[in-house]
């Protein structure tokens, strides 16, 4: 099968979890994050790292390594994982689990890409420490 035409599909939701489904906030363009890179968003409960992988998938994780609190957004992104900048723990972007035997798990958040824009779960804007 072949074609002279490009297929266009809307990228699917990249992460799932709890929250008020269907309410999203547009925070930035996908191109605001370099491929294999990350940027942070600030929320009242701390920073969340938004990762863009080599295949243009986007993931949102708390920006703290469960080991010594390193900023994962400054890590090196490879495949669907990030290596923490402090002591090279490797964290899965898919579920926040430590790979290769470390303890702990990083919180993940709902994020998706639609029409080149990054959308995050609206509840992240309203969450409070209380």
């Amino acid at each position: 099968m072949s074609s002279t035409i490009e297929s266009t599909t809307r990228p699917a939701t990249a992460a799932a979890g709890k929250g008020d489904m269907g309410r999203w906030i547009d925070i930035a363009a996908l191109d605001d994050i370099p491929p294999r890179g990350a940027r942070v968003i600030r929320t009242r409960l701390g920073c969340i790292a938004i990762f863009r992988t080599h295949d243009d998938r986007v993931f949102a994780l708390d920006d703290r390594c469960p080991h010594k609190g390193g900023a994962l957004s400054d890590g090196l992104v490879h495949g669907h994982a990030v290596t923490c900048p402090l002591h090279a723990w490797v964290i899965s972007l898919e579920d926040g689990r430590v790979q290769g035997g470390g303890e702990g798990r990083v919180g993940t958040h709902m994020v998706r890409v639609a029409a080149g824009r990054i959308l995050i779960d609206a509840s992240l804007a309203t969450r409070n420490a209380a």
């Binding site: 099968m1 072949s2 074609s3 002279t4 035409i5 490009e6 297929s7 266009t8 599909t9 809307r10 906030i25 925070i27 930035a28 605001d32 994050i33 370099p34 491929p35 294999r36 890179g37 940027r39 942070v40 968003i41 600030r42 929320t43 009242r44 920073c47 938004i50 992988t53 080599h54 295949d55 243009d56 998938r57 010594k68 609190g69 390193g70 900023a71 400054d74 890590g75 090196l76 992104v77 490879h78 495949g79 669907h80 290596t83 900048p85 402090l86 090279a88 490797v90 899965s92 898919e94 579920d95 689990r97 990054i118 992240l124 804007a125 309203t126 409070n128």
Partner: protein, 811 residues
């Protein structure tokens, strides 16, 4: 009485619909087919072969006038419908109204013309229909240059065809690799290599700024300032569903005309199919789902129940001689496993993505013979666990056969070493004659003696033949992503002129999709060292300190250390450092062993600002964070010291000004002492110069860290210029030959001082060449990264948060 069916658009989807209708319900409909083009239905996906000259228009016609006549279909070609009157159920053309009982909209899609100045000039064409092809063929007959904007399926087919027609072709692609929607980086790299070998220029990460020209297109200007001559510009940057009629008629339209599973639009008398529709938020552009829609709509129109279900989609590129296939989801991820087969010598790459023992993604390049076998397994979700070990080798190795290595399956005539033309049979003969190691096979046959890329294959043949008698040599691999060691990788980069990370990963047979934190920094260094002008440093392949140009501390803050040339400073600089320390609440200020001042505990957000302040006072980055030149420590020498024999501070500053900014396999520290009392402790540095009455003693490969080691004498020279030359040549030799993260003393220990002296001291031509190569590299890298990172265009993208939700009002 038959129902009046009007179809707008004579494309592939409506052509297939007509076939179903005349088959299933001959005479049930009185059909009128409108087409804006003055032609009937033809096979649009074969436009590329027509453009390439492999086929003629007549060969791609799917329905001719006789076919329409035989089935009683009224054709109104070249007569565009301008309006749909839903209330009166009729469509309007220049010739007047035509009534319908049922209407099918199949208006397809149009090329997306990127919104840049000049996109409407004559000579700028899409690649959608026969008119576009004729325009391009006319341009090709005149020869000249063509620029194709868009490196997707369509753009590459156009590029290859125009090249085959004799034009000079450049592809301008926005993304980092070709066909990024269908291919991973490895396959994208192989494709690019093939197209370049045909003489097509490929520019990735290239943003079009404008199309230049007076009466017609003459050139394409890129954002980075490059201008490419263009007698023809082909827009292949995507498609846009053609929905204008539907929008004007007030139908529900999102990106495409919204249809349900049965192909109904929001009007019960109007249906739609093809590239103009949107089903379940998806717009389709490949032909297989369009054919599925045609089958569903034929059922709906004839009163049967049918539902459109999104099918698995596969892609092939129609370029003669390029074998490429992709299907499904080939992203990596948790719970997914890759099976990767690479045969660098033959340019073959196959990757299967598995989840729960089922194939969910396929990417193949170079050999797609088994594509349909794999695609079958993907579409029916077959459990492949029983055949997993041999799955990647395809149906020829199924079922029940012993798992065979790729080399065992090759015939004796198969070429193993491309450089020296050694076939598998010759290697087997050498083994039968007594060769038991790679080195012996290399000596007898020449296999792997040049670029070494086939060494793994030769070892595999040794293992296949000798079984347990063969012990593979123990090379320490770079990381778990590869079996090759650092030296193998560097040799490969040089011999095969590999100039990107994906290129290295493909040719060296990487086992992961994009490496890890161990191999990516190493590859990035090897590439920038080997190709200083061509390779662009990849920030995402650098670890935190080098990416942020500061040293990360345990609490996530950073340290900032400005350069003090030769350890010299001024009251003004000290004042600026003090001001910066106060302004940014720097918790600790420390004098270092390298004769500089370290500001510790700077917040990440403050980095660009503190750099800008230090820059304003004339200071630049001290590179205290880099695998590169750190400091040149000096004593005050003849300027002040009563024992000084030479101007050691002057020499230190001169060396630092030459060497700063250069990247090296590991950090490099220098010192220059003005007399044998050696106050600058030059005898434990990577390069240490001790001044004496008669000149300069240059020592190298010292250490005072994890190990303690005195420098070894390199040479004693009479002039400062000679001391500088030796230093630069030694550092370049180290840059070109040491393994990543290997300090100079370790490297010298491994290769021997004699080898170093022979090149740096004894061979003057080699010394000059080393210095020249160092200078070439420094023409790119001798610059202040702080000044660059503090520039406004870096600020928003790198240093500021993407969004600040603490400012949002609470609910």
């Amino acid at each position: 009485m038959s129902r009046k069916l009007v179809i707008i658009g004579a494309g592939m989807a409506s052509g297939r619909l007509l076939e179903h209708l005349v088959d299933a319900a001959p005479g049930a409909f009185d059909i009128t087919l409108f087409g804006a083009e003055p032609r009937g239905n033809y096979n649009r996906i074969m436009l590329s072969p027509v453009l390439a000259g492999d086929k003629s228009y007549d060969e791609i016609v799917t329905h001719d006038a006789a076919w329409y006549r035989a089935h009683g279909i009224t054709t109104r070609f070249g007569e565009p419908v301008v309006k749909i009157d839903r209330r009166a159920r009729r469509v309007i053309t220049a010739a007047g109204p035509t009534g319908y009982d049922a209407l099918v909209i199949a208006t397809g899609s149009a090329a997306f013309f990127i919104p840049v100045p000049g996109n409407d000039l004559p000579g700028v064409v899409g690649f959608r229909d026969m008119d576009d092809v004729e325009t391009m063929l006319q341009a090709a007959r005149r020869g000249g240059e063509a620029v194709v904007i868009g490196g997707g399926l369509l753009g590459l087919e156009a590029a290859a065809a125009l090249r085959a027609q004799g034009m000079e072709v450049t592809v301008v692609h926005l993304m980092g690799h070709l066909m990024e929607r269908q291919l991973d980086e490895a396959a994208g790299y192989l494709l690019r290599k093939e197209l370049e070998s045909r003489g097509i220029t490929v520019l990735c990460d290239a943003h079009t700024r404008a199309i230049l020209g007076h009466d017609r297109a003459e050139a394409v200007a890129l954002e980075d300032g490059r201008v490419i001559g263009a007698d023809l510009v082909v827009m292949a940057a995507g498609i846009r569903p053609e929905t204008r009629l539907a929008v004007d008629a007030g139908l529900h339209v999102e990106r495409g005309i919204v249809v349900d599973d049965a192909m109904h639009t929001s009007d019960p008398h109007i249906f739609a199919l093809g590239e103009c529709v949107e089903h379940d938020s998806v717009v389709y552009g490949l032909v297989a789902p369009l054919y599925d829609m045609a089958a569903v709509l034929a059922k709906t129109l004839t009163g049967h129940e049918a539902r459109f279900r999104p099918p698995a989609i596969s892609t092939r590129l129609k370029v003669t001689g390029v074998e490429l296939f992709s299907a499904g989801d080939f992203a990596t991820g948790e719970g997914r496993e890759d099976i990767v087969f690479r045969d660098p010598a033959r340019g073959i790459y196959k990757r299967l993505v598995l989840r729960d023992d089922r194939i969910i993604g396929i990417v193949m390049y170079g050999d797609t013979a088994d594509a349909s076998w794999f695609f079958d397994k993907l579409t029916c979700g077959e459990d492949i666990a029983p055949i997993r070990d041999t799955l990647i080798f395809g149906p020829a190795f199924q079922p029940g056969q012993e798992p065979a290595s790729a080399t065992a399956a090759l015939p004796g005539t198969a070429e193993i070493c491309g450089c020296n033309g050694v076939a598998k049979g010759s290697i087997l003969a050498a083994i039968r004659a007594g060769a038991t190691s790679l080195a012996e096979v290399k000596a007898r046959t020449g296999a792997s003696a040049s670029c070494g890329g086939c060494a793994g294959l030769v070892e595999q043949i040794l293992a296949d033949t000798l079984g347990a008698d063969f012990e593979a040599p123990q090379v320490q691999p770079v990381c778990a992503c590869t079996d090759l060691g650092h030296d193998d990788i560097r040799r490969l980069i040089r011999a095969q002129k590999l100039k990107s990370i994906p290129a290295v990963m493909q040719e060296a047979g990487w086992k992961t999709s994009c490496g890890c934190h161990l191999c990516r920094p190493a590859l990035n260094y090897y590439l920038l060292c080997e190709w200083p002008l061509e390779y662009r440093d990849d920030a995402q392949s650098r670890l935190v300190n080098e990416r942020n140009h500061a040293n990360i501390q345990r609490d996530g803050t950073f340290s900032v250390m400005p350069r003090m040339w030769g350890g010299m400073t001024t009251p003004a600089q000290l004042r600026a450092i003090a001001d910066a320390a106060e302004k940014y609440d720097v918790p600790a200020v420390k004098v270092t062993g390298g004769q500089r001042i370290d500001l510790l505990g700077v917040k990440r957000d403050d980095l660009p600002a503190i750099w800008a302040d230090l820059n304003a006072a004339g200071m630049v980055s001290g590179h205290a964070y880099s695998k590169g030149l750190r400091t040149v420590k000096t004593c005050v020498g003849t300027d002040f010291c009563r024992f000084g024999t030479q101007d050691s501070t002057g020499l230190g500053i001169r060396l630092e000004k030459i060497l700063w900014g250069s990247w090296t396999p590991h950090k490099v520290k220098l010192a220059v002492s003005g007399c044998p009392r050696n106050c600058a402790e030059a005898t434990c540095k990577d390069v240490g110069i001790v001044c004496v009455d008669s000149g300069y003693e240059v020592g190298v490969a010292g250490a005072a860290g994890m190990d303690l080691k005195k420098t070894e004498p390199l040479a004693r020279v009479a002039t400062e210029d000679e001391a500088v030359d030796l230093t630069v040549a030694f550092i370049q030799l180290y840059r070109e030959n040491a393994r990543y993260l290997e300090r100079p003393y370790r490297w010298v220990e491994r290769i021997g001082m004699d080898w170093v002296r022979a090149r740096v001291v004894e061979d003057e031509a080699e010394r000059a060449a080393l210095i020249e190569r160092f200078e070439l590299s420094q023409s790119v890298y001798r610059k202040d990264p702080w000044a660059e990172q503090a520039r406004p265009e870096y600020g928003p993208r790198k240093w500021q948060p993407l969004a600040d939700l603490t400012l949002e009002a609470a609910e």
